[in-house]
Symmetry: C2
Subunit: 392 residues, 2 copies
């Protein structure tokens, strides 16, 4: 029997190289626009997109001082600044933090709620301004999700905000916007998208509709990430990565992530390790831990991708292939390489198991001891702990 | 390189047995609702759904005299009646004609345009009332598409109306609503959905994003249609058919159908053959005609479904499997069985090639002579014209 599912996504997803020019189709009769963009995009956006919006009669204010990983206080400051402009449309152009900032701005700018009020699931009241997103990385999938992630500096941990009000009205996925991404960002954001797909596919709440997105995303990313890292101008690779990332994003709303993301939150929150890198490092070790609960799914993914191995080796082989992708793309593959010490592991494990919103999705239950062991394996680079219980 | 594509669909698709109760989540603060439903559903809807809407404070008017295949004049009459109620929301509960009627009502009820003004693509001005759809068949996919089809009685042909304004705000796909569908309707509407998926997958404008929907739809429908026809209460089969039909609908916006639908329009328009039956009859003969242009795609579908055959036989085998499904589900497999005579074929061919909106999508160009030959094969039940050119 097919389980119930509520698919919520932008009413329009415009995919293709050069499609950013279609932005004017989505602003309607907007008069005042807040455009949130990455600092290094400011000039390009000001030259390229702002004139098109102005020609349609809209007054545009650019916010381009986005702080990565979004400290809660920063969001408050942006909302204060933007509210003076009284925008009827918010556009977000950038990576995950920038798009999340635009999404939160859109729900808070005309609201009496502040960021702390909306942390958690289903606490956003409403959104009355239009929201359009254009990703410049191929990773977060935030352009289509009901999720924004902020950093609570006091508690040194990332917090998720989940609401259908955060889903943009339109998302424009133009791979040309990703061409200038440097190799290390291409690599880390790409493996982040791969993580979304793998955590959705092996999720406790996996669903056949989402499985289709996840499988396609895994295929595209695993086949094209190296090409995109090695030659940023390879448009076939860039388009494929953008599409893979979009699929990852479409997984996040209805099914969402699991232990990799929960364990990555303290790594990102405390050590300011970029979200994609933290996920990339932890992914193979969590897969190893989950092997006893979802080995059959790894086998089916390995078969879907094509493999020379057969039988029981397939699942283990698939985990190694995932780590190998990070290694070949120049991403660190241990926590040690990130400058984390073994003495940090206990508090990180404690913080991670507190992210129950995501931990509950994991195919295998994760105790605090388990979290410590996963972190320790990720610290030492141990990937042969077949049963995830310390016994080989 | 991945081609550009604009995916437009309802911002919310709510899938699952029993989900019709979620309708109250989608009407917001509506005060006046027009509910368009199939005549035989009137009592059930009045008992079940209307009280829930009334409890939320909405005044509901039911329109339940929908004429199948939607004559243009009928739409005008419905709009006149409904406009007196000044609805802020239109809900459509029924098969394709009923949902198309609700969609057209939603765009015309507060507009100065009439049905003739909007026939064709992109001619609808705007939609200012909310629109929610609940299909009671598993076939048309109309619950998620930007398309409505009407019958132009003067010209004896069906006409398509295509606009993003016709895409509902929310679609609720509750397979429990399909349980009372009799076997012959289950069969014909099911093969209609199969046709949507096959014509999208082999379309000249096929796209990898839509291929994923199409493949899954083909798999679900071919695996479950017989069970749904033979035991209408088999909820696993019903859910699978509803999901397959949804996938078919998701194909229709960005890629749409091709020669099967174009050739079916005169059959439906003149002989009042239900849309699903007309498509079912023509599907294998058009597939046979297209074999020389997209045999590789039939092979990949046959492989995806699993088959005992190999090599070149696969494509031909797949076409036979498709016709066999109709036969086993009790659908006529020739035009003769529909009461059409051979003398009708020339004018039907002429009318069909005039449906350029769909004919242009076909993988192999269809001349008027080709259309006559396809109709003649469909009349006589000939399926061994391997090259579609009269030579075996």
């Amino acid at each position: 029997m097919i389980a119930n599912i509520r698919l919520q996504m932008p009413g329009c997803i415009d995919f293709g190289a050069g499609r950013r020019s279609s932005i004017i189709d989505y602003i309607g009769t907007s008069e005042r626009i807040c455009l949130v963009c990455d600092p290094f995009l400011r000039n390009r956006v000001a030259d390229d997109i702002v004139p098109a919006l102005s020609d349609k009669g809209a007054e545009v204010v650019i916010i381009s001082d986005v702080i990565p990983e979004l400290p809660v206080d920063y969001i408050g400051a942006v909302v204060d600044t933007a509210s003076r402009h009284k925008p009827d449309t918010v556009i977000g152009i950038g990576g995950g933090s920038t798009i999340d900032c635009a999404k939160l701005l859109a729900v808070l700018v005309k609201s009496s709620q502040n960021t702390y009020d909306v942390i958690n699931t289903g606490t956003v009241g409403e959104r009355t301004v239009k929201l359009v997103t254009l990703p410049t990385t191929a990773g977060t999938g935030s352009e289509v999700t009901p999720i924004a992630v902020v950093t609570d500096d006091e508690k040194k941990v990332k917090k998720g905000i989940v609401s259908p009000c955060l889903i943009p009205d339109a998302a424009i996925i133009d791979a040309e916007l990703t061409v200038s991404m440097p190799p290390h960002v291409t690599a880390a954001t790409g493996v982040d998208a791969l993580t979304h797909c793998i955590e959705a596919y092996t999720n406790r709440y996996a669903h056949p509709v989402v499985d289709g997105f996840a499988r396609e995303g895994i295929r595209l990313i695993m086949n094209f990430i190296e090409r995109a890292v090695n030659d940023g101008a390879d448009m076939e690779a860039r388009s494929s990565m953008s599409l893979g990332s979009l699929y990852g994003g479409l997984c996040l709303g209805p099914v969402n992530t699991a232990a990799v993301h929960a364990l990555a939150y303290p790594v990102g929150g405390e050590f300011k390790v970029p979200h994609g890198v933290a996920n990339s490092v932890l992914l193979p070790y969590v897969m190893q831990f989950n092997l006893s609960s979802c080995g059959d799914k790894y086998v089916s993914l390995a078969r879907f991708l094509g493999t020379e191995h057969g039988g029981e080796e397939l699942a283990q082989d698939f985990i190694h292939r995932v780590r190998e992708i990070s290694r070949r793309c120049g991403i660190p593959v241990t926590l040690k390489e990130l400058g984390i010490t073994e003495s940090d592991i206990p508090w990180m494990a404690n913080a991670a198991v507190g992210v129950t919103r995501l931990m509950n999705n994991n195919p295998r239950p994760v105790t605090e001891d388990d979290a410590e062991r996963i972190y320790r394996n990720a610290y030492r680079g141990i990937l042969d702990d077949i049963h995830g219980d310390g016994k080989k």
